[in-house]
């Protein structure tokens, strides 16, 4: 027998409970990524050479190395320096860091797409750089890149199974445990795959909606072009 429905019903509640952990990790990780990404993007645009180079190097470094190693690094190496983190926290930080680097590129594109004239107009009005950033630049830079950020939210969501490597009881780890208890891996792993597929497809459809909405509303709210 390839597929046992009774077994499916038996394990569904356990998997649903684990999916809460997966979703928690996703949301926390992405919250971190969204903030960190913006900070990195702004640092990267800094006029001070070493700050922007360091930020750029950091982003490149994080993007060029596997998340799994970064998870291990935070979980195993940090304690050597006296920073002991629970597995879940370590995992969330690693995911946030990794996707924060990706998001910083998105923010940067958004920031660079704000016409130079906006900066010049703000200077002409004698606005401080901080106010200019907060009230003029950011509100124009972020909305167009929301769909791209959304795609990284989905990507981060799909990476959460990596937390199973440090024994966080998210979906994948739970599925593996269930599998090892019953010697039936078909159902738990397929269900996990199905869960990710459905959630990703829904998210993708949602992001497309947001994109069409933005395309319609961002056409120039009273500005010139």
């Amino acid at each position: 027998m390839f597929w046992d429905w009774n077994y499916v019903w038996e394990i569904t509640p356990t998997l649903l409970r684990a999916s809460v952990v997966t979703i928690q990790a996703t949301l926390l990780g992405f919250a971190l990524a969204a903030v960190l990404g913006l900070v990195l993007a702004i640092l990267r645009m800094s006029k001070t050479g070493w700050i922007s180079v360091t930020a750029a190097g950091f982003v490149e470094f994080i993007r060029s190395t596997p998340v799994l190693i970064q998870i291990f690094f935070i979980f195993f190496v940090f304690p050597e320096f006296g920073v002991v983190l629970p597995a879940m926290t370590a995992g969330v930080i690693a995911l946030g860091l990794h996707y924060g680097s990706y998001c910083s590129e998105v923010y940067r594109a958004g920031l660079e797409n704000v016409p130079r004239g906006q900066w010049e107009a703000s200077t002409a009005l004698n606005l401080s750089p901080y106010i200019t950033f907060r009230d003029i630049i950011i509100p124009q830079a972020i909305p167009p890149v929301v769909p791209a950020l959304g795609n990284y939210l989905v990507a981060l969501f799909k990476e959460t199974p990596l937390l199973s490597a440090i024994a966080v009881l998210e979906l994948m780890q739970t599925a593996k445990i269930l599998g090892s208890q019953s010697f039936r891996y078909v159902e738990p792993i397929t269900l996990v795959g199905g869960f990710f597929l459905v959630m990703s497809l829904i998210a993708a459809a949602f992001i497309r909606q947001v994109e069409t909405y933005l395309n319609r509303t961002l056409r120039n709210p009273g500005g010139a072009r």
């Binding site: 750029a56 190097g57 060029s64 998340v67 799909k158 959460t160």
Partner: protein, 240 residues
Amino acid sequence: MQLRPLAVCAIVFFTAGLAVSSFAGFREFIPGLLQGAAVTIQITVGGCILAMVMALIAAMAKMYGPLPLRWLAVAYIEVFRGTSALVQLFWLFFVLPHFGILLDPLTVAITALGLNVGAYGAEVVRGAVNAVPRGQWEASVALNMPRALSLRRIILPQAFVAMIPPWGNLFIELLKATALVSLITISDLTFKAQQMNQTTFRTVEIFTIVLVVYLALSVLITVGTRTLETFAARGIARGR
């Protein structure tokens, strides 16, 4: 954008130097890590080749195939983009044996990662083909070329140039994803790192070195694709 490789290289040397100077028994670990790196490279190369083949087939099927084939391609692309690489890896590793299909872990690894990245690659191919100006198709029709010929000789060569940078990124994604194979018992770089960590407890040094090795491999891929890009762009200028 000369700054990018520059910054990365600086970091490679800095951290590598740091690790070496703080890690007296460094040499002992070289053979093990090299073995691991060799496996990582092997899976990366195998995965990249499979990914490119799958991407081309899936993209062509999705765009020009007859209906059932088109659905199959869409299903492949959506399923492999919609679930994560690790789930796919585990699925092939744990579930296939239940159906009586026994593959060795290395084959499973290359298959899973190749199929995963191939699904993303299919969209890259499709985007690049669609970005070729419509006039190129029309000129081909005016010269009475059959569609397959225009695709092969006119459209794909132009799309190819536009595809190189995104493929470079996908290759790096694939390299990073190879770390997952350590979770299905393959002794790649990550697996070796874990193993040595458990026997020597030189946690800081081992993971630092491993990070730097991955970074170096990524930079290698970037440099490779950049070079290819310059070569391919020669003689082909867009715009008129």
